[in-house]
């Protein structure tokens, strides 16, 4: 089991049912947690499983409205540009595609996330668990990452720190000057929350949900294959 703390000024874990005017879940989702671990280390040979989330800061909100573009880059236009058949420039003009959208963000978030990985069937002969364990620890300790992890959206970057665990998976407090943060005392039924996307069909990934309950700041995450995860 591995544990990291992540924190940042803002976060936005968009609820799928409210993604036009984005509204965040009150806490980080397992899929956003997975993405943070993957930003530090990921290979096709491994698959991260989030085990537990501890919420260390009270839940605070902020609303921000931004001018956004409501168009996507079209593959067809790119291809006709490439072949030289169409015109040379299909850029998006924002005056014609402007949308003002609000986002309800979280503010000053801080989480302690516990996760583990397992080897997938794509693991080669040279791959073994120890190798990836050491690799992850080395990177997380040094602050190394493939790209800077983020809290839901890329503009809300995440700071992270490796937390070493005792044998019974309790965080070890090796810094005597700094006290380990404790989870907030709130208990809340968070309702059905996005668990992750099921990429077993790459063409059409399906959302998975689970019933999230926060017990004194701690959310226990069921295993991906468990019956608590609804597809």
């Amino acid at each position: 089991m591995f544990c990291i703390e992540v924190w940042g000024d803002y976060a936005l874990f968009t609820r799928p049912e409210m993604k036009v005017e984005r509204v965040s879940y009150p806490v980080i989702t397992p899929s956003a947690c997975r993405a943070i671990f993957e930003a530090i280390l990921w290979k096709p040979a491994i698959e991260w499983q989030i085990k537990k989330i501890e919420v260390l800061n009270p839940i605070k909100w902020l609303s921000v409205r931004r001018n956004e573009v409501g168009a996507k880059l079209s593959i067809r236009n790119a291809q006709s540009m490439m072949s030289g058949k169409g015109k040379g420039d299909y850029s998006i003009v924002i005056d014609d595609n402007r949308q003002q959208r609000a986002s309800l963000l979280l503010k000053e978030v801080h989480y302690r996330i516990y996760a583990d990985f397992k080897m997938t069937d794509q693991a080669g002969q040279a791959d073994n668990r120890i190798k990836f364990e050491k690799m992850f620890e080395r990177r997380a300790k040094k602050g190394q990452c493939f790209y800077q992890p983020y809290l839901g959206c890329r503009e809300f970057s995440a700071n992270f720190e490796l937390i070493e665990l005792e044998e019974n998976n309790v965080p070890r407090n090796f810094d005597s000057e700094k006290e380990l943060l404790v989870p907030i005392p709130d208990s809340q039924d968070l309702g059905y929350m996005l668990y992750d996307l099921d990429f077993s069909c790459v063409e059409d990934p399906q959302s998975m949900f689970f019933h999230a309950k926060m017990d004194k700041g701690v959310i226990t995450i069921p295993d991906r294959s468990s019956s608590e995860v609804k597809r």
């Binding site: 000024d9 803002y10 605070k60 902020l62 609303s63 921000v64 409205r65 931004r66 001018n67 956004e68 573009v69 996507k72 880059l73 079209s74 593959i75 067809r76 236009n77 790119a78 291809q79 006709s80 540009m81 490439m82 072949s83 058949k85 169409g86 015109k87 420039d89 299909y90 850029s91 998006i92 003009v93 924002i94 005056d95 014609d96 003002q100 609000a102 503010k107 990177r139 040094k142 602050g143 190394q144 990452c145 493939f146 790209y147 800077q148 983020y150 890329r154 503009e155 809300f156 970057s157 700071n159 992270f160 720190e161 996307l197 990429f199 790459v202 063409e203 990934p205």
Partner: protein
């Protein structure tokens, strides 16, 4: 100097800019008042506001091929005419290879796609280009004060508002002068954090030259963005941490903590950059990280 080498190192940077008697970023939710975090009173500037200025600067200054801008600000009428032509274009079959080729092509042609990424409508999950440059919201160092100014216009917009003054007989007399509103921040210094991932740069073909263009944009972009609303905005600091490899050598937050900005005299209102002292703890620099102050 043009190189085709994609960047090989991770960079983290702190960018400081200030505003004097202007509105750095209006909030559409609050009648275009400067963005404020209501809890702390700190001013905010969104990541997209800065990206827009980078795009505008590159569009304005870079004439070479490969520096087109995909998300453009002003409408070009020809595009609408061309859309008719667009219909005749043979619909290309979409295999994974072709999409990937198109992606590469777009990255090569457009600076902003290569730098910030773009969403491509492929209907597939992988239809996203993630750019190497990641910017955060900028936050002011101290709470900001918003001033509201009422302004008047001596002319009217509609002909029907032009009247004849009954007492003097004066023609084209306008009774209803339009009143307007303008918001300014007397002074604020904003701090923005940014990250550049060499791994994503490799994916989109973001080169050393592109990086240099990006730094130039941050240094000079406010000088090409003057308007009535903005007042005086200036880039004040660009502090770049260069790690000696792709993954990096230290946590970004530890590097950012090396740059401290303090108010000289907290009892007086802050009205100029000289009211702050920026201190950089270069001795605290971890091994394998190079520091460069670009402004």
């Amino acid at each position: 100097m043009t190189t085709t080498n994609t960047i090989e190192k991770r960079y983290d940077f702190v960018y400081l800019f200030d505003v004097q008697d202007g509105n750095p970023n209006g909030d559409p939710d609050a009648g275009n008042m400067p963005r404020v975090d209501p809890e702390t009173g700190m001013g905010l500037v969104t990541d997209v506001a800065l990206k827009r200025k980078v795009r505008n600067f590159v569009q304005m200054t870079q004439e070479e091929a490969g520096y087109d801008i995909f998300i453009k600000e002003r409408g070009v009428l020809n595009n609408l005419i061309d859309e008719a032509y667009d219909q005749e274009v043979v619909k290309a079959k979409s295999g994974a290879d072709k999409i990937d080729q198109a992606r590469q092509f777009m990255c090569k042609k457009y600076y902003d796609v290569r730098t910030f990424g773009a969403v491509m409508s492929t209907g597939k999950n992988a239809g996203q280009v993630r750019g190497p440059v990641q910017l955060t919201f900028s936050r002011s160092l101290d709470p900001i004060i918003t001033l509201e100014h009422s302004i008047t216009r001596m002319a009217v917009a509609n002909e029907k508002d032009i009247k004849i003054n009954e007492s003097t007989g004066e023609k084209s007399y306008t009774e209803n002068r339009t009143m307007g509103r303008k918001y300014t921040v007397p002074y604020a210094l904003y701090r923005c954090h940014g990250f550049i991932s060499a791994h994503f740069a490799n994916d989109t073909g973001f080169t050393e030259t592109d990086l240099e263009v990006f730094w130039q944009a941050l240094i000079n972009m406010f000088d090409h963005d003057h308007s009535a609303a903005r007042g005086q905005m200036n880039a004040r600091g660009l502090y770049v941490f260069e790690h000696d490899n792709k993954l990096g050598n230290a946590p970004a937050h530890k590097l950012f903590d090396l740059i401290k900005i303090e108010v000289n005299d907290a009892s007086k209102p802050i009205r100029a950059f000289t009211d702050y002292t920026v201190s950089i703890n270069e001795d605290g620099l971890p091994e394998g990280v190079k520091f460069d102050s670009k402004i």
